[in-house]
């Protein structure tokens, strides 16, 4: 089998930081080659170089035996490389067909021949057994279908090498199964697939070979038949994972009581949701993103109006109260998107840390914020959480911090509120493994102090590791509840996809 693609000694440096260090990688025709690694291991950097979005500091790309240089995505596309990005590159207002043919539209005298385009898309869809609705508006398609549109787009563009960047992160378990089948189909019809992921089970199901990256270096390239998930995990992490702190059994009564909470916009986004979080308890909310989790958190924290239902926090009715009132009643909140909600990128670390403290009597005297006094507190957080702030320390702009360090700052800020209740939404999204362990420890410690935590995460492993109880959301409702003991990834997956399982404490749907 000759190699269709070879990347030799790929190195990419950003200033002092080496994102890829002499990474070598090869791909044969008809092969599925997975690249696995933790966040920050350099997977995406490698692919951005392959796709022409970044220029390597050194190293070369050899395509079908010839060295090539890609100045931009269009070069890569022209050479038969297609990328399905983790965040879809789609136009919601356009139809499926328009999204697939854009950039390479069938035309006559400058006029767009939409009919021809549709015929071609239909033919392509049948050829590769990838079902879609050519006329549907993409914004109305399910996430799974949007992903199929992306795959058809790169096929339409004539790709022989298809890069899939974390393709399963947004899919339901059922859709994952379909996708893995599609990947196999593609490989059988002679396409080569690069699968970037950190989910090892999927890799073991579909990949022919696996390359593991850690800290920008290759720690191993192995054939699927000669390895298992444990070996891969060891190659990925490079050390044994830290054990989480012992969880002390506690139950000191209800803290957060949500009853029949309903949020409607054009449609019902949150439908009669009821649950309780007790003191000394972590309640995890699992579910495919977009099933009402964001709306639930926003309604609880005062960022969105609920049309029905009540939220009680520590005995106070805080339904549809202002954010400030709810925070005063004992809520702290690690938001799901740190750049959208959690920080001001062009402000300093110190100013980002000050959010929520600026009117606290401890840091105010005669209408003036006691910045010096507060600075000492922030210094404490930076030390305690090992936050790397860069040369300007507390005056560094928040936007210059790495994702993991900014996340640690946000976690420190919210834990520092010392409230009885904490919302932790995707607390470790996009952070490296060290930061993740640290944040997990901190959450467990808070729980052991008798505080309540509502954890929302799209990573089932995180939910399973931290939660005392697990609620599964599906289409704006709580579709099932599992205790820590009975919960397994399989059971949760089934409920996440709208199915039901025997023996769980499942609620009526």
């Amino acid at each position: 089998m000759t190699d269709r693609l070879e990347m030799r000694g790929m190195t990419k440096k950003y200033g002092d930081f080496t994102a890829n260090d002499k990474v070598s990688f090869s791909l044969a025709a008809g092969e599925v080659h997975a690249i696995v690694g933790e966040n920050g291991a350099g997977k995406t950097t490698l692919m951005r170089m392959l796709y022409g979005m970044e220029q390597p500091t050194s190293g070369e790309i050899v395509l079908n035996g010839k060295p090539v240089v890609f100045r931009g995505p269009e070069d890569a596309i022209r050479n038969g490389i297609g990328m399905v990005h983790q965040h879809f590159m789609l136009f919601g207002e356009f139809s499926v067909t328009e999204n697939i043919v854009i950039g390479y539209e069938p035309k006559q005298a400058g006029f767009f021949k939409r009919k021809d385009a549709e015929d071609k898309v239909r033919a392509l869809s049948e050829q590769y057994r990838i079902p879609i609705h050519p006329q549907a508006k993409v914004a109305n398609c399910s996430i799974g279908e949007q992903q199929r549109v992306e795959i058809l787009k790169v096929l339409y563009q004539g790709a022989d090498i298809i890069v899939l960047d974390e393709p399963t992160a947004v899919l339901t378990p059922l859709e994952v199964r379909d996708l893995l089948q599609t990947i196999r189909n593609l490989a059988e019809s002679g396409k080569s697939v690069i699968l970037i992921t950190h989910k090892l089970q999927e890799v073991m199901e579909v990949a022919d070979r696996i390359t593991v990256l850690r800290g920008g270096k290759v720690t191993g390239t192995v054939s699927r038949t000669e390895t298992n998930t444990d070996d891969l995990a060891r190659l990925m992490v490079g050390r044994e994972l830290q054990e989480l702190a012992e969880r002390v059994p506690l139950d000191k009564g209800p803290l957060l009581q949500v009853e029949n909470l309903t949020v409607r916009e054009k449609q019902t986004l949150l439908d009669q949701v009821s649950f309780t979080v007790h003191h000394g308890e972590i309640v995890g909310i699992a579910g495919v993103s977009g099933n009402g989790q964001s709306e639930l958190l926003q309604a609880i924290s005062g960022l969105r109006t609920a049309q029905e239902g009540t939220v009680r926090l520590g005995g106070n009715d805080v339904t549809n109260k202002s954010v400030a009132t709810i925070r005063d009643a004992g809520l702290a909140h690690i938001p799901e998107d740190r750049y959208l909600w959690g920080a001001a990128k062009l402000s300093s670390v110190e100013e980002n840390a000050l959010m929520g403290y600026q009117r606290k009597p401890a840091y105010n005297r005669r209408g003036v914020v006691l910045r010096e006094k507060f600075r000492q507190v922030v210094k404490g957080w930076v030390e305690q959480f090992a936050i790397k702030t860069g040369s300007r320390q507390l005056q560094e702009l928040a936007g210059n911090l790495s994702g993991g360090n900014l996340q640690k700052l946000i976690v420190a800020r919210e834990l520092g509120q010392e409230t009885p209740f904490l919302i932790a939404a995707e607390p470790t999204r996009g952070v490296d493994i060290g930061a993740m362990e640290y944040i997990h420890q901190a959450l467990i410690e808070k729980r052991n102090q008798g505080d309540g935590i509502l954890l929302v995460s799209s990573e089932l492993s995180e939910i399973l590791a931290l939660s005392d109880r697990i609620l599964v959301m599906y289409k704006g409702r709580i579709a099932g509840e599992l205790s820590r003991l009975e919960a397994t990834e399989e059971k949760i997956s089934v409920i996440m996809a709208g199915g039901s399982i025997h023996g769980s404490n499942q609620r009526a749907i």
Binding site: N39, S322, E351, L354, V369, G403, D432
Partner: protein, 356 residues
Amino acid sequence: MAAIKELSKSLVQPFLAVVIGLLTGALVIAAVGESILGTYQEMWKGAFGSFYFFTSTLARATPIMLIALGLSLAFRAGVFNLGAEGQMVLGAVSAALVAIYLPAPGMIKIVAGIFAGMAVGGFWALLPGFMEARFRIPLLISTLLFNYIAVLFASYLVTEPFRDRSGSAALAQTVMLEKSAWLPKLFAGMSVHAGFLFAIVAALLLFWVLRFTPFGYEVKMLGQNSLFAQYGGINRIRVMLTGMFASGGLAGLAGTVEVMGAHYRFVDGALTVPGFAWTGLMAALLANSHPLGIIVTSILLAAFQTGAMGVERNTDVPLELASVIQAVLILFISAKFSYDWWKKRKAKGGESHGAL
């Protein structure tokens, strides 16, 4: 110390813009066929050539500074208030009417006039703020349109019901304020009046509020990321409306001090023709909304204008030279934004190392 460092940093870019503005001005002067150096000499003389000219420059800088301070507060909160002109004019006409018709001693007239001018300017600004908060009507557009309405309404007031019909003058204007209600001049025979002190005090006060108080912090955060501010418990609408009210109030004060310290009556067009509001906008942008920087930029822009008057008196170069230089200034102040952009891009790059 940090404040001084920040101030000097925020002045580098305006300085470059001024240089480019002067170079463009030189091109324009050359196009008219005048001596560049000679023209700029006349400009300097017109602005700072004598104590009289210098104080005239300060007098002209007064309303510009007050308006710029108000706008800077709105800009910092992320609100693009383009309605300073209307807020100023309505404030001015209200102050004039109160000072003329309130039956009270002079001192009370002054205080009541100032109060009325600020309040009316503030409420006129509050209205588009409310429309944005409640009905999501873009403030940028509504404030602009409100200018036309305010200016026309004020014009109506002094052409019809409150017109001074005593004199022979064809001008639409109110009667004159009685002398006891005049704001005192700072130097006898010079045009700079007490309003200039108000502007300086306002700048210092605003600097203090923005830098040291919780409200100042909240304004800044709201301007930088309004979702972050809301998430943190800042009441977006309250801060925005407070900012708009203060912004309009300062614009109203600008109009008020012109009426009570310079014209002693409201004259239709006397505030709009010199373009105080737009010059104020430029002063705020030039100073990157920094209150202390605004003191400098307002005087600078006022100097261009009084200087251009000197140029017009003594050369064939038209007065509008100043407008051209100012517009180029503001165009190139945007280079600052490209610097921001570069920083943002760097920030983004930083993120990708961590997260990918």
